[in-house]
Amino acid sequence: MQVPSQVEYERATSVDHALTLLSRPDTRVLAGGHSLIPMMKLRLAQPEVLVDINGLAELAFITCDSHELRIGALARHADLLDSAVAGEHFPIFGDAERVVADPIVRLWGTVGGSLCQADPSEDLSAAFAAARATAVIRGRDGDRTVQVRGFHLGPYETVIGPGELLAEVRVPVWPGTGSAYEKVARRVGDWSVAAAGAVLRLGGSAQNPVVKDAGIGLTAVGAEHFVAAQAEEYLVGRKADAETFAAAGAIAAQHCHPVADQRGPEDYKRHLVAELTTRALHRAAARVTLSS
């Protein structure tokens, strides 16, 4: 029988209340709990105090205007998967959410929880990194913003300090953008062996599309900040065609740092990165609408 260690439980009634509770030493935010509670059972996490933020409806939103998609930290995976506005501007999030765990877990697990868990195999970090999203971190002295590309300090470690709370994620919306996420897992609902997300902004014409901007995120393969920076650089200004996308995939595979584990050897993971990056770029490009 697996049970967590003794722990104190506090329920936050407002964001301010949560911030006050979180200023105590050795506290952990409890949202969906689908990573934290299993880790507590295994003694990989042993906080003294849990601050339950599930009642904070003001953090459970998904909104979009012409220039920004905003996702509250307490939005559930299922909410993001179902969100029409998010799907319209960023199909990458629907692609990624569809392969996060299983439908029951997705009803409770949260977007903010996934980012803060900072698991190297977690899917949303790469998706948000690809989309150049910004994390809004709330503290008792107000908000500060951090690029998702700088949000993770390493496995299970983020820039969020004591007394702070991830409040929302903001994603810039550009016209002429398409996006996609491609993942290989050993079985349905499992963690990625490897995955790649692409966000492409295209210019030129429908006959001759050119890459204006590219974001590529990689999951579970030791990419710094979950990003394939060299591949992004390579893409900008080039023709958006099969040759370019294949070359970008090869560059992404070359510059990441997968390690062999029970999910596969290193060379297989690099092969997946090349293939999945290329596929994600194709799908992202196909989702862009350009006038002819």
Partner: protein, 166 residues
């Protein structure tokens, strides 16, 4: 160190003094004696512990009882109404949707939720809905048939969809 947790389970309010670390599945089984929900893998993989928490299915081995304080829980014991089995329960009987029965309560709670939201699911939707749950007896074929049976009879019967489900 204990705290008072008050939960409405299948319409009845229960309050207990429990440790904050107590998991909801153990609260239901050991504190309330509602042993229809099964405690399986303990790692949120198998889904035999699925119950509803505020109208959404959840793997209750991965939720603290404290998190359910002030909320409503529905378990397999709450499917039957006035001596009438829910169509999902009847479907599992009609189509032999179980052998050992260990996964069944979780499967039925997910199936009930699926049908409340998608009254006419196809096979792919049913398989997707139960993809976080494991059955080692049926090969899932009969579970899918059972849910389809329930979908047909949900529509045909004097529907109680207007009644609150919790």
């Amino acid at each position: 160190m204990t705290m008072r947790v008050a939960v409405t389970v299948n319409g009845t309010e229960y309050a207990r003094e429990v440790e904050p670390r107590l998991l909801l599945i153990h609260f239901l089984r050991d504190e309330l004696g509602l042993t229809g929900s099964h405690w399986g893998c303990d790692t949120s993989n198998c889904g035999s512990c699925v119950v509803w928490l505020d109208a959404r299915p959840v793997k209750s081995c991965t939720v603290l009882a404290a998190m359910a304080d002030g909320r409503a829980v529905r378990t397999v014991e709450g499917l039957e109404r006035d001596g009438q089995l829910d169509p999902v329960q009847q479907g599992f009987i009609e189509c032999h949707g179980l052998q050992c029965g260990f996964c069944t309560s979780g499967m039925m709670m997910t199936a009930r939720w699926l049908l409340d939201h998608y009254p006419d699911p196809d096979e792919a939707q049913i398989r997707e809905a139960i993809s976080g749950q494991i059955c080692r007896c049926t090969g899932y074929e009969n579970i899918v048939r059972s849910v389809r049976w329930a979908a047909k009879h949900d529509q045909a019967g004097p529907d109680d969809a207007t009644e609150p489900r919790l």
